[in-house]
Each structure stands twice: as C-alpha cells, then as structure tokens.
C-alpha cells in the first residue's frame, strides 16, 4: 500500500473526472467539418440548401460557437452539473431521459452479478481452503482461472449458443416476454428473473475467480495465525473456528475487491447486454454507435465514467475506515 492521504485520493479522482470532461468537450470539436455543413444538406428529400453566410453566422452565434473556448467550456461544465446532457439526435428525447429509462436493467444485472459472484466466490473459497491441496481444490483453481481469462462477451456468446440456441432452455433476447399479460405480480418477477439469469451468470463468472482466489489465499494465510491456534485450543469446534474467526478476518480484502468489481462489471455489462440483446444502457450504446448519435454516446460515457469513479472513490474511503493500517504511512 502506498501512502496517500484522503485529500490525495480526492484530488486524484477529481482530476480523472475533469480529464474526462475535457475530453468529452474537445473530441467533437476536433472532428473535421462543422455542425452547419449537415444542416445545409438534406439528402433524403433531395433538397440541398446552402446556408448563406449571414444565416451561418446567425447559427454560429445562436449556438454560442463564436464565444471564446474557455467560455464555451464553462457553460458546458455548468450544463453537465445541472444534469443537462443535450438532446439525442436519433431518439429525439433528452439524453438523460433516454439513459434513465434503460438504467434499471443495467443496474439489475450489475447488482445481481455482484451479489452472485461475491456469495459464490466466498463460499467456494471457503470450501477450497478447508480442503487445501485436495484434488477438488486443484480442479477448482485450474477451472476458475481458465474461465477468468475469457472476456465476458466471448463467454456470453458461448453460454448463449449453448443454453439458448442449442438447448433452448433460456430466452434468446430481451428482458421480459413481449406482449405478456401477467395474472399475478409474482409471474412478472419470475419472467424478469428468467430473462436475467444468463447475463448475470456470464458477468459473475468473469469476476468470481478474483473473489474466490482472494478468499482462499487470505484464509490460508489467516489459518496460520496465533489466534486461530488459541481458538482451537479453547475447543470451540472446527466449524466455528473457520466461520467466526478465520472467515471474518479474511473478508476485509474481499470488501474492497467487491467495490472495485462493480466498476469492472459496468464495463463488462456494455458488451454482455449486446450479446443477450438485453435492453440496458449497453445496448443503447450500440444502437447509438450504429446511428452515430454523438450526444447520446457522450452522455452514456459520462454517466458510466461518473458512476465508476464515484464507486471506486467510495470504496477507497470506506476501506480506509475499515482498515486503519492503510492510512498509516509506510515508506514507499
């Protein structure tokens, strides 16, 4: 662990966010051409009306493009801070609204995958550590490590081909059955869960290994400590020693790992959603890429980057609270 104060961490994340905003602001301005070229040519109706110089000037000053760059940048920052991300060209709605309607689906699979990979990873880690160096332990390690090397969208394609296309056990696409009428709210929940299972399994398989290895290795180290020997000497039984004494102390690094995992899962969800045609932010991104809907692409990027940065920042702060050792400065 390197020594960084609370302030240093805050400055680091703030700078990263600022860099992203700068990039978001300058990227469109670095592209060739200007926005009024497209306004002056309407290819669909074969009407090609060239803007007169006067009209061009009017538009440029109307959109504030004649103001100095720093002024434009400041107004951009203010509008982003107010939550105004612009207007989607393709969907003709505010960008924020387009993202907002898709966000719950992404949140569902990301949180589902976080929960599933944490629980499964810790349990498997416990299982493996108790049977250290047995054939089951070795097989688990080799199998899970190989899974972790396959990126989520390729794994997702394999799972989709196996379970939905070949076995026809799970739906191919979507988050709910189209045109379905539910007689009971429980049916609706069942339907949503049924559609979300494969994306959640895919996402969690990629992160499971990290949690599993971390739990297993920390448990193995913790079990050599003196207090474990003391607990055993008290005669409280092997089960309690593992759960109450060992697992509790091994969970601390897992907490950080889970936090950082959420950020990685959000990145992975973008691709996995497209594999399963799941209607979250990721598939919105793909359709906006195909439609070249630049304001929407930028908005999605900004929302994702902001949430990843926020989660990671919170994790660092929380971790410092949980483990005071990290805040004490060691020599670099």
């Amino acid at each position: 662990m390197r020594c960084r104060g609370k302030k240093g961490v805050a400055v680091q994340y703030a700078t990263a966010l600022f860099l992203i905003l700068v990039l978001n602001f300058f990227l469109p301005r670095m592209m060739p051409g200007d926005p009024f070229l497209i306004l002056s040519a309407d290819s669909e109706n074969e009407v090609i009306s060239v803007l007169t110089e006067e009209q061009r000037q009017y538009f440029i000053s109307y959109y504030g493009l004649d103001r100095p760059v720093y002024e434009q940048f400041a107004s951009y920052i203010f509008s982003v801070a107010r939550g105004d991300l612009g207007e989607s060209i393709y969907y003709k709605v505010p960008v924020w609204e387009a993202i907002w309607t898709r966000l719950p689906w992404t949140a569902l699979i990301v949180l589902g995958a976080t929960l599933m990979s944490t629980v499964a990873g810790v349990l498997l880690g416990l299982f493996s550590a108790r049977r250290r160096d047995s054939p089951a332990d070795k097989m688990l390690i080799v199998g899970l490590i190989s899974f972790a090397e396959i990126p989520s969208f390729l794994l997702g394609l394999v799972i989709l081909l196996a379970f939905s296309v070949k076995l026809k056990a799970f739906p191919l696409a979507g988050a709910i059955t189209p045109f379905a009428h539910y007689s009971h709210p429980f049916d609706a929940l069942w339907d949503i869960g049924y559609h979300a299972v494969l994306p959640i399994i895919t996402l969690s398989l990629t992160q499971l290994t990290g949690i599993y290895l971390l739990t297993r290795n920390t448990l193995v180290t913790v079990m050599t400590r003196d207090y474990i020997r003391t607990a055993r000497a008290k005669g409280i039984g092997e089960r309690l020693v593992w759960t109450r004494h060992a697992l509790r102390n091994a969970l601390l690094p897992v907490v950080t790992r889970v936090g950082f995992m959420i950020g990685m899962l959000m990145g992975g969800a973008v691709l996995v959603e497209n594999v399963f045609s799941y209607p979250g932010v990721g598939s919105l991104l793909r359709s906006s890429v195909i439609a070249r809907d630049y304001p929407l692409i930028q908005g999605i990027m900004l929302v994702m980057a902001f949430s990843i940065l926020t989660v990671n920042y919170l994790v660092e702060i929380v971790y410092e609270r949980l483990d005071p050792r990290t805040s004490s400065c060691e020599a670099v």
Partner: protein, 337 residues
Amino acid sequence: MAEAVCEAWRQEKEASFKAAQKAAKMAGFRAIKADLNIVSKNEETLRGLLAAALDSICDSIGRFSPAGKMGIAGLLLIVFIAVFAPFVTFYDPSAISGMSLEPPGPDHILGTDELGMDIWSQICYGTRMSLVIGLAVAMISGVGGGFLGLMAGYMGGNWDKVLLRTIDITMALPSFPLLIVIAAFLNPSILNVILVLVFLSWAKPARVVRSQALAMKKQQYIISARLYGAGPVYIIRRHIMPEALPLIFVSILNISSYAIVAESGLAFLGLGDPTSKSWGMMLHYATSFRSIYFTPYWQWWLMPPLIALIFLLLCLAFIGRDMERIVDPRLRSRGGQ
C-alpha cells in the same frame, strides 16, 4: 537592522547552497554523458543485452508447466498462420468466392459468410490484425512505460512525483467507456486504436518497474557500484535492467491480451475499422445478421472467430501465468498457486 542582516546572510547561504546543488547536478549530467559515450562506443552492448534477454527467456521456457508449453505451441501455431496466411488459404478474404452462406464443404473449408466470402481466409487474415494490435500496444506501452518507470524510480525527485501522480490518475480513468467514446469520434483506423490503447495501458508497467527500481536503488551492491564511480546509465544497464526485464516481459504479455480483447470488443460494438478483416468484425457482422440464431448459419459463421479468439487468449494467459510464477518466486511461497 539585525533582521536585515539575518535575511541577507540567509539569502547568501541559500545562494551558495543552490550553486553547490547546481554544480552537483552538472556533474551528474556530465557523468551520464560520459557514461553514454562509453556505452555507445561499446558496440556489443545492444547485442549483449538482446542475448541476455533471449537467454533468460529460453531459460524460463525450460521451467514452464505443461499448460505453459501448450500455450507456447498454440501461440507459435497462430503466429505461423498469421505470417503464412496467403499460403494456407485458397481465397482472398475480401473476394466474393462462392455463394452466400455456403455451409462448410470441399470448396470452402469453413463455409462462406453473408456476402460469399471464405470464412477460413477471413480467420487466417484476422489473425494478423489481432497479433499486430496486441504486439504493437504491448511493446509500446510496456517498453515506454517501463522506461519511464525506471527513470523515475532511479532518478527520484520531482520527476518521480509528477510521474506517480500521472500514473495514479491514468489508473483511475475508467478505460472501457473512454475507449468507446474516443473510438467513436476518431476515425477507427488501426493506428488510432493502438494509440488510444497505449494511452490507457502504459501506467501499469511504469508503476511495477518504478517500484522495482526504487527498491533496488537501496541495495548494497548498487550503492557500492555507485561508490566505485559507476554512472547511472551503467548501473541501470548492468544491474537494474536484468532485474526489470522479466517484469516488463510479463506486463507485455498481459497488455497484449488486454489489447486483443479491447480491439475485438470495440469491433463487436461496431467501432472497428470497417475495411479490415478482424475476428471482432466477424463477430459483429455475424451477430448483426437478423435472426442468425434461428438459422444454422451461426455454426460456421459465428463459431470460428469465437473459438479463435478464446484459443489465442487462453494461450497468452497460460504463458503469462507461468512467466509470472517464474519471475516472482514469492508467489510460490504465498500458499497460493
């Protein structure tokens, strides 16, 4: 009055101190220059360095596990296919050489795609794309980042502080969203993809090598070498480089699989270079094909690039894991793998 005198005295002292510092710095620079001269005069240096690197690589391959050896064999096979792509295929990858969506048969080993292009040819030529992107990104950011880390770690001072801050900020950037937005705005040529990936991945090798250099600088034998009058370039080349090279090599392997995944992911989203044949673009076209899962086409259109990508990544991963194990003996005693 007394205060003024005091102030003057302090300033004078500071000035003399600074001059001494400057002189020391100048001496340091001169030492580097002299050292560089010796290095450049000694022609065998580069060859010697390369030979040493090759030796260490060969030595570590001997200690590979069976999985690692399989990985190397697989990687060699892939490199072979990439280099000799025109000799192992029968058609040009972007020539329409058959009917649309032909199943695998004697004419087309793996069938044809929607436009009647041979899929085996596309796979073979796509190998080049993946390997070039992986290798280029990994070499530039591994060697460049490693060099920056080495310099910063060894020289210390303000450069080190600046580099450390930059590394921290770069590592905090969420890479995938950034990658998407930059690729969407720049035109998606191979060069742009490589540059963006380098920008996002140089920080890790820099950090690893920096801490290694920092730790080694305090070692007894390096201090004694310096006291015997060895210049910084000599020490870095003779003592620190051999220790840092394996670390750089491991991060080159890791970065190359990261780059391959990122490129195919971008292409899968539709942000790849439309004129190029790559595995990611094949996945993109196949999954964009309407109702492909209700037809048998996925069996010969979607499966080959999928299997090829997974195969390449697993090979790289097996090699990387063995390298890591050999480079870092601590891992073995940690009770883990």
